[in-house]
């Protein structure tokens, strides 16, 4: 009832002690397509659903590499996410330059949270409209953090954000106790399954999801479409095979390769007419 009076300014409290602008920013995050993350003792896997505006366009990049040992997945205003990932990359480079060692994930996440908090206490700014799942590895092990527009951050064993993320969260809640000792491949399978939950009926194919992994001895990188499709196929889930037009060069497996834009162009031609596999 009182919402409309107190929601114009981020620096105005409501009588109930809430900052509505911040909460609206969280809403923006919930509108974005889903992103999930889960971790074991040695690996962290991020996954996201690629939503393209139309058949003609490529999908937005939602997973960013920040450093060899840190990456993130975003949900919400992608532009805000891009700006934050640029900030994080800068921080990692500067820390590495000064200390010749990788920036501990926990430190970066706190810096990020403080940056977000500033936007909740300045009348000329607005909160970032993006939730981030930060996956990283440092001396204290594998970590998954969730940063929200309010400036809060939490560490998770597994989490999902964005639209229809509740379905993924339910799946993860059931399974998370096993994650700590999971193997890397099982973790990836769980990530893909969690993404499938958010699709709710839509067929799962590698063109609509992106998976990234970071782990001990494995720098952060995005898995190429071919690899992801192979894993999907092993599920014995009803899945349509990718068209034969897909070029094999996508399988470079290097950190700087796998430009998802090209992959989405191939995925644009769906319904190749190949028979789906039976469960």
């Amino acid at each position: 009832m009182f919402r409309n009076q107190y929601d114009t300014d981020v620096t105005t409290w409501s009588p109930a002690g809430r900052l509505f602008q911040v909460e609206y920013a969280m809403e923006a995050m919930k509108q974005g397509s889903a992103a999930i993350g889960l971790r074991s003792k040695t690996h962290v896997v991020l996954g996201c659903v690629n939503k393209a505006n139309s058949e003609l366009s490529s999908h937005q990049k939602k997973i960013f590499k920040v450093d060899d040992h840190i990456g993130l997945a975003i949900a919400g205003l992608t532009a805000d996410g891009r700006v934050l990932s640029r900030y994080m990359r800068n921080e990692c480079i500067n820390y590495n330059f000064t200390y010749e060692s990788p920036l501990p994930v926990g430190r970066l996440v706190v810096q990020l949270a403080d940056k977000a908090q500033v936007c909740t206490q300045r009348s000329w700014k607005r909160p970032y409209g993006v939730g981030l799942l930060v996956a990283g590895l440092d001396e204290s092990g594998a970590h998954l953090y969730y940063n929200c527009p309010s400036g809060n951050y939490f560490e998770y064993q597994a989490f999902a954000i964005g639209s229809r993320s509740q379905a993924a969260k339910t799946y993860l809640e059931r399974r998370f106790e096993n994650f700590t000792d999971s193997s890397r491949d099982d973790l990836v399978k769980d990530a893909i399954t969690a993404i499938r939950e958010t699709l709710q009926g839509e067929t799962l194919k590698s063109s609509i999801c992106t998976i990234a992994v970071v782990g001990v001895g494995e720098p952060f990188h995005i898995l190429d479409q071919g690899t992801v499709q192979q894993i999907i196929d092993t599920f014995e889930i009803a899945a349509e095979q990718e068209g034969p037009a897909a070029e094999p060069d996508a399988a470079t497996g290097r950190d700087t390769a796998a430009e998802q834009g090209t992959a989405a162009d191939q995925g644009g031609s769906t319904d190749e007419g190949v028979a789906p596999m039976d469960i």
Binding site: R86, N90, T256
Partner: protein
């Protein structure tokens, strides 16, 4: 009343020599591994060569503290480039970046005499040679450092790179094969270490070609 001179210098010269030779499909970059100060040797096993990108290697002699700072700067800038462009920097791009980075400190220069070597976008060998403030040029071969006055005339005699001012424009790369170029480098350093007190101990030779980057060493005079 004589003008007061500085009694402390921010610079020191750690000596050493660097050489680079560009071939049709390879590039050889070499430097000795001796680090000195004054008439003393600080260490016999210091690398003056730094890999900046997949196909781009830099050798620098001069003040090694400045060299190290320069290398770190370039590495950080390269990382930013990779984040933004999703690929490695090409050798010519890195060459320009190095020039700009050096000129940025025009009024408190990096005391670093660099040669940059690698493969360009077409896979041809290229060598870029610099002065301390960033003036650079693409050449077929180059030498910098304390032994350069002894090495350059010999390379001129063996390789005789055509002037880029003459027409028709001739290729700067040497017709030598990779193995011959490496041999030439070894000969050249062996000669330089005879007369230059700051060059010696060991040569580190880095070869960049289509298959990647490889490294080899050769012993030199220890005196």
């Amino acid at each position: 009343m004589v003008k007061q001179q500085a009694n402390w210098s921010p610079y020191d010269n750690n000596g050493g020599s660097c050489v680079a030779i560009a071939g049709a499909d390879y590039c050889v970059i070499a430097a000795d591994t001796r680090m000195s100060t004054g008439y003393n040797i600080l260490t016999r096993e210091y690398s003056k060569i730094c890999k900046l990108a997949d196909k781009c290697v830099m050798a620098s002699s001069g003040f090694q503290a400045d060299v190290k700072a320069l290398q770190k700067q370039l590495a950080a800038r390269h990382l930013i480039y990779q984040h933004q462009h999703n690929k490695q920097m090409s050798c010519p791009a890195m060459a320009q970046l190095l020039s700009n980075t050096l000129y940025y400190k025009r009024f408190f220069p990096y005391y670093s005499f660099n040669v940059l070597g690698g493969l360009d976008n077409e896979g041809k060998g290229c060598v870029f040679t610099y002065d301390a403030v960033g003036s650079y040029e693409k050449v077929g071969y180059s030498s910098q450092g304390s032994g350069s006055t002894l090495i350059t005339p010999f390379l001129d005699n063996q390789l005789k790179s055509p002037s880029p001012l003459l027409l028709p424009v001739q290729d700067a790369v040497t017709p030598l094969v990779e193995a011959e170029a490496i041999d030439l480098v070894k000969t050249v350093f062996a000669s330089a270490s005879e007369r230059d007190i700051y060059t010696g101990d060991k040569i580190e030779i880095v070869v960049v070609n289509a298959t990647g980057i490889r490294r080899e060493y050769m012993e030199l005079r220890k005196d």
